[in-house]
């Protein structure tokens, strides 16, 4: 039977296997905005981090509204995706828009996954964004959807 452990493992595997995610933010006028980002996730599935230049639309949007959504999937752009691909929709809140880039464990997690982005991350114009994850919606077998809700001790208000 489906257990939380299985679900967590499947999500973790998907997050590990993918380098890029689609990030959805919202502008101050309420328009949706999607962009592609390089991300990394913590083992406990509680945090997802990425880096962005501060002059971007996504950064402006996050500064205005910290609620974001991400889409991470393993599609191959072939017909077989319809039975084979998995996608996870992630809901979360940005809890720091300029995290500590030099010593932070999260920053090293990010660079372990994306070593080629070291210069990009360390640029003074780049913000390191830390998202606290609230929930995952894993879609497999075309239409099966399972939800995983993350209980974050620091975010009691979120529930």
């Amino acid at each position: 039977m489906t257990t939380r452990k299985h679900l967590e493992e499947e999500i973790e595997e998907l997050l590990l296997s993918q380098k890029l995610a689609v990030l959805a933010t919202q502008s101050s006028e309420g328009s949706a905005y999607a962009s592609l980002i390089a991300f990394a996730a913590t083992d406990d599935l509680r945090k997802i981090v990425f880096a962005t230049p501060k002059a971007t639309r996504k950064f402006a949007n996050i500064s205005h509204n910290p609620k974001v959504s991400l889409l991470i999937d393993d599609r191959s752009n072939n017909e077989k995706d319809f039975h084979d691909a998995q996608a996870v929709t992630v809901m979360g809140v940005v809890d720091r828009i300029d995290g500590d880039k030099s010593q932070n464990e999260l920053a090293s997690l990010y660079l372990t996954k994306h070593p080629y982005l070291a210069d990009f991350l360390h640029s003074p114009s780049t913000a390191f964004i830390i998202i606290s994850i609230r929930s995952y919606y894993l879609v497999s077998r075309f239409q099966e959807v399972m939800e995983l809700h993350i209980r974050n001790a620091n975010d009691i208000s979120a529930l």
Binding site: M1, T3, K80, F82, V139, Q143, V145, E147, R151
Partner: protein
């Protein structure tokens, strides 16, 4: 790339031509006499499935859920859908032209046999005769091409899917080659085993009059010669009662009565039996492995039809029920006999037995006698449960037999359209629901009566007419709640049935109308029968439909009748528990039958505590939620409501109209709440299972085969049942969202 070859032109690569074709090639090279043969390479299959995204459609069908979670019924359903995909997909013109031209050139209008030649067959360690399909007596390139498609589809037959591991079936890569052979209409046919699979010192020749099909599917019992393998001499000759033979007729193969002169005479002389056994030994040398050889005799000439290595059929360990499942696929003839047995022997006997048991006054029995009564009723229940598996479940195959026939004839857009035709006869559970509806309508007129029932005062009801109706109902259909509560007697649980009556009484006219609905399928039926040109074919279609309807109806009725036997067992068990409780046996209500029996006989016996411990999984899963669950679209429609999860039959009593019924399996004894439901969700999968049948009768959205339905969905959850796509969505507003 070329797709069609003569036997002399093919290589021995079974990936291209399949096991059967390459074996024939070996026989051909050894100089054995074979019918004219064409080979259609796997390339043709590949071209076919690459058009119109057939490949991905097949994949989607096979990946609806984890394959290991699929039940036999669901595998059969998936295979039927895939088969329909092949039926409805026209062959690419170029491919049809190429194969068609070769067929016309070599066979003209002569009848042929279209056989599967799977690449995996050859590689498999085990012999898998009959997992894929063959078709006999097909004439003309158009019909042959249609049957080539069906052979391709049988790569994904339910049988092949069951043995996918042994067959090394690869969902993404497997393909199928086809062999087309001229039909040699032999006067005698048979199978020779150069080695007896169950005794290595022996060999076997089996022979029947007419074509081999009767022998292969078990309709005709063969003469059987057992040989000393080494000496090649006859050890024994077993003679059957020779009654029938298979012969080509029109475009079919028909089971026919054997003329008397033949019935008295073995199909082969001893000399011929030895000759054909030696031939098998010769073929064994060609392939360097013991062989199972299919042959036919015309005059004095023996033609070899096919040959494959002999391997013992391995049905795995005791838990492997696949052999039993394969045995469910019975012939029309066999099913007709089974029907008579069920209708004329089993059902009357069960009814008699239930009625006889009901007459015993349990309360006047001594404790010892009661213990004996419980034990005896348990045996009765076991006996009929065994019959249920032995005869009732196999009879359900009548529906499937017709389903395939219907799809082959009509190739409908919906592969389960045939189910519509099955329901012209009222099922027992539909009749029962109508009876409940009548009582509900009566209660509707009397608010006082409603109040008394609602207040739980069932025993205080003084309305004689009402009591009479309830008694009549119980005597006709039994009390579906009896036995579902371990802590209450059947009389006490009567209040649950009254609650259901109350729910029905408070239904609107439209809701209630659903219960009385009689669907008219006359147009569909007329369109189906209009497809038959000759009276004989129509008669066969009528026979199959009649059989399927009986199968559909009896598969419902058998459960209700078995339920009445079980009810009698529970009555006795409850009487036992009641007595123990009166004697201050703590926990008597939870004792199982053996403990009750023992405690009744030996009052000093202290039964062990049977309290079940709650598993921890509930706790563990608190942060996991199902949003959208996938199952089979078993009843079209969309229904929305609060979930009522049924863990035990007793939960049904809390069921309120407009709720979504979520359960492990809709027990046929519980279907009376189905017409009140907004939708039905079942863990148990299948399009032809009971819950799906009833939901479809009432036009209620139904999704079956949702693996964790009863654990992932909770009572009170808002649920949407999409019976068109087979999707269950949990939660309307996304409350967990930030």
């Amino acid at each position: 790339m070329r797709t069609t070859y003569l036997l002399s032109e093919i290589s021995l690569d079974s990936n291209i031509f399949g096991g059967k074709a390459t074996a024939l090639k070996g026989l051909h090279e050894a100089g054995l006499r074979l019918p004219a043969t064409l080979c259609i390479a796997t390339e043709a299959y590949k071209q076919f499935v690459s058009v119109s995204s057939m490949q991905e459609k097949i994949q989607l069908e096979l990946h609806r859920k984890k394959f290991s979670d699929m039940r036999w019924e669901e595998i059969w359903d998936a295979a039927l859908r895939i088969r329909n995909l092949f039926l409805r997909q026209t062959m690419p013109e170029k491919l049809a032209r190429e194969i068609g031209r070769a067929l016309e050139e070599h066979f003209s209008e002569n009848p042929v046999v279209v056989r599967s030649s799977a690449p995996e067959e050859d590689a498999a360690a085990t012999s898998f005769a009959g997992l894929h399909e063959s078709f006999v007596n097909i004439r003309g390139s158009g019909p042959i091409l249609e049957h080539v498609k069906l052979v391709w589809a049988s790569l994904w037959s339910d049988r092949a899917l069951l043995y996918r591991k042994e067959l090394d079936l690869d969902f993404a890569r497997s393909s199928m080659a086809v062999v087309v052979q001229e039909l040699v209409s032999g006067d005698v046919s048979g199978i020779t085993f150069s080695i007896n699979p169950s005794d290595a010192s022996e060999g076997v020749v089996e022979a029947v009059y007419g074509l081999n099909q009767g022998l292969v599917d078990g309709a005709v019992e063969p003469d059987r010669w057992v040989f000393h393998r080494k000496e090649e001499t006859i050890k024994e000759h077993y003679k059957p009662r020779r009654e029938k033979f298979m012969a080509p007729q029109g475009d079919e193969v028909i089971l026919t009565d054997l003329p008397e002169n033949k019935a008295l005479q073995p199909p082969l002389s001893a000399k011929e039996a030895v000759a054909i056994y030696r031939k098998a030994k010769q073929i064994e040398k060609v392939f360097d492995k013991p062989q199972d050889v299919e042959w036919t005799r015309v005059g004095s000439d023996f033609f070899i039809l096919q040959s494959r290595p002999v391997t013992a059929r391995q049905d795995g360990d005791q838990d492997d029920k696949r052999g039993w499942y394969l045995s469910l696929q019975r012939s029309e003839d066999n099913l007709k006999k089974l029907r008579l047995k069920i209708e004329q022997v089993h059902f009357p006997a069960m009814k008699r037995e239930a009625a006889a048991l009901a007459e015993t006054d349990l309360e006047i029995l001594s404790d010892k006698e009661l213990a004996g009564e419980i034990a005896q009723r348990l045996q009765v229940k076991k006996k009929w449960t065994a019959v249920y598996w032995e005869d009732f479940i196999p009879f359900a195959h009548g529906m499937r037999l017709f389903g395939r026939f219907y799809n082959d004839t009509v190739s409908p857009a919906d592969p389960f359209e045939f189910v519509e035709l099955l329901s012209n006869v009222p099922l027992l559970s539909i009749k029962r629901n109508k009876a409940l509806r009548k009582i509900g309508a009566y209660v509707q007129q009397y608010p006082d009566l409603q109040q008394t029932i609602a207040a739980g005062g069932g025993s205080k009801i003084t309305d004689v007419e009402f009591s009479g109706m309830m008694e009549e109902f119980i005597s006709l259909y039994g009390d579906p709640f009896c036995g579902t509560y371990s802590d209450r007697t059947c009389n006490a649980s009567r209040s649950e049935l009254l609650n259901v009556v109350l729910q029905i009484a408070s239904s609107t006219a439209a809701e209630a109308g659903r219960i009385d609905k009689v669907t008219d399928k006359a147009d569909l039926e007329a369109a189906f029968f209009a497809r038959f040109t000759t009276g004989e074919k129509r008669a066969r279609a009528e026979g199959l439909l009649d059989l399927a309807r009986a199968s559909y109806r009896l598969r419902d009725d058998d459960n209700i009748i078995l339920g009445r036997i079980e009810e009698q067992f529970f009555r006795a068990l409850q009487e036992g528990r009641r007595r123990l409780q009166e004697n201050h046996f703590a926990g008597a209500a939870d004792l199982d039958d053996s403990e009750v029996i023992r405690s009744l006989v030996d009052r000093s016996y202290k039964p062990g505590s049977q309290k079940q411990k709650k598993t921890q999984s509930e706790q563990e899963n608190q942060d996991m939620k199902a949003r959208q669950l996938l199952g089979q679209p078993a009843g079209p429609g969309i229904g929305r409501g609060l979930a009522r999860v049924i863990d035990s039959a007793g939960d049904l009593a809390h069921f309120k109209k407009g709720e979504v019924l979520v359960c492990d399996a809709v027990d046929p004894n519980m279907t009376f709440v189905v017409p009140l439901a907004a939708g039905v969700v079942e863990r148990r999968g299948g399009m032809l299972i009971h819950g799906a049948i009833i939901a479809r009768e009432y036009g209620i959205a139904c999704v079956t085969g949702v693996p964790d339905a009863a654990t992932l969905i909770h009572t009170g959850d808002e649920v949407t049942v999409d019976g068109y796509l087979g999707i269950v969505t949990v939660g309307q507003k996304d409350s967990a969202f930030l």
